[in-house]
Amino acid sequence: MNWFRFASPASFFPLAGRLTPWFSAAAAMFAAAGLYLGLFAAPTDAQQGDAYRIIFVHVATAWMSMLIYLVMAFWCAVSLMFNARLAAMMAQALAPTGALFTALALVTGALWGKPTWGTYWAWDARMTSELILLFLYFGYMALRHAIDEPRRADRASALLALVGAVNVPIIYFSVKWWNTLHQGASVSLTSAPTMAAVMLTGMLLMALAAWCYAIAIALTRVRAIILERERHAGWAGEAVLAKAAQ
């Protein structure tokens, strides 16, 4: 099997269509199991009470927010090195989901912070770097949006994502440094209780659900992008008609 066949949008389009339902189903299953563990099976925490149950969505979204940026940067590198259109479209499709997870990590973190720290927002190292990550996502999307010519947008935004990816660790490190310099926002995230096995399992399941969801939604969005951009290429219309005929 020649995998490079799928590097062309025309042949990737149906493949993505076939994969999506599987990932959606997996996401639903993992989420159901994770939610069961997180909301019913896991016992109430001695220190935080039930507030800690936010961890099951918070950690999953926080992990995904960073992971998606890395994956996006990977596709951007591929698109620049091999001048691959599909890779650029993958990056384009991932960005909104990444930004969404970042925003959700911030919101869930803030909602967690109020009961535990007594404030929605503190200039904690992780929260601050997460906020900056959100700005990086928005910058990427805004730059894409501002350029009309899709190929130019591909290349310019890919370059930006790479520059950003090189900077993410530096930003993270510097913000951490800044935080210790200022004696922290009085609370530290690492003081979370050592996790019970059931909690850990629940978090992992939720993270897997987020993975599968992100893949499914990105595949769907990339199909929309392929159709929008290849609308004049002939095969796109055929693909739509073939689908309608089924």
Binding site: R152, R155, L159, L162, I171, L181
Partner: protein, 236 residues
């Protein structure tokens, strides 16, 4: 023999230094002709820095604590203010495409432009900073660290900013440029302001300053190539 190292028929790229020198000379000469915009930037810096003592009141301890951060944030914003001018006019009048077509390596030409830009916009801030730092009651060693930090940090700002400016060529928006560039400025801000803070508490700023230097080195190596790639995309 070195001559055979180059494939037959491929001319060797002419000197990168000459290219950079060309750009520095040209841009410095233009900047010296129209001094107005330089003034705007320095004035902005001064206004921002003067404003804070007026806003937070005359408590010396408070001012001294705020000083480094305010001076650095102001430097960041002032640098941002000057960025649109780095490439936009050259792009509009066709200079940038001539540069891309010249036999000099484009990253070298771009480095020259960045250097000239820093000379015109960053260096004045470095020079003015001790004076403005006095308003916050900073001591001599803090002022020294402040100036040193700006000397190491503002070129990094220009370099990173150049990438953003090149990426937004032909796009109307000054705010977009800020959105792309300011997050990248964060480490410089933290280490720069941190250095002065460390000097104040007597801890010594060597660590922060070396981090600033390292960031500068990294930006020096990477940014001209990234900016050149962005310029190539823009002239296509």
């Amino acid at each position: 023999m070195t001559a055979t190292a180059a494939p037959v028929g491929r001319p060797a790229a002419p000197g990168a230094w000459h290219g950079a020198g060309w750009a520095v000379r040209r841009d410095a000469r233009i900047a010296l002709r129209s001094k107005a915009e330089l003034g705007v930037q320095l004035l902005f810096y001064a206004i921002v820095v003067t404003l804070v003592p007026l806003g937070v009141g005359p408590d010396p301890a408070l001012l001294r604590a705020l000083g480094p951060g305010v001076l650095w944030v102001a430097a960041l914003l002032a640098s941002l203010l000057a960025l649109p001018r780095l490439f936009a006019m050259d792009f509009a009048d066709g200079t940038l495409e001539q540069m891309a077509l010249s036999p000099y390596p484009l990253p070298a030409l771009i480095s020259g432009k960045i250097a000239a830009h820093w000379l015109a916009t960053g260096l004045p801030l470095v020079v003015a900073s001790p004076l403005l730092g006095l308003q916050f009651g900073l001591g001599a060693d803090e002022l020294l660290v402040l100036a040193l930090g700006l000397l190491l940090g503002t070129p990094t700002l220009s370099l990173l900013g150049a990438v953003g400016a090149a990426l937004t060529l032909g796009l109307r928006n000054g705010a977009l440029l800020a959105l792309l560039v300011l997050p990248l400025y964060v480490p410089v801000l933290i280490f720069g302001a941190g250095a002065v803070g460390a000097a104040r508490t007597g801890l010594g700023a060597a660590a922060e300053l070396s981090l600033l230097a390292a960031a500068l080195l990294a930006a020096l190596v990477g940014a001209p190539f990234a900016a050149a790639a962005a310029v190539r995309i823009a002239v296509d």
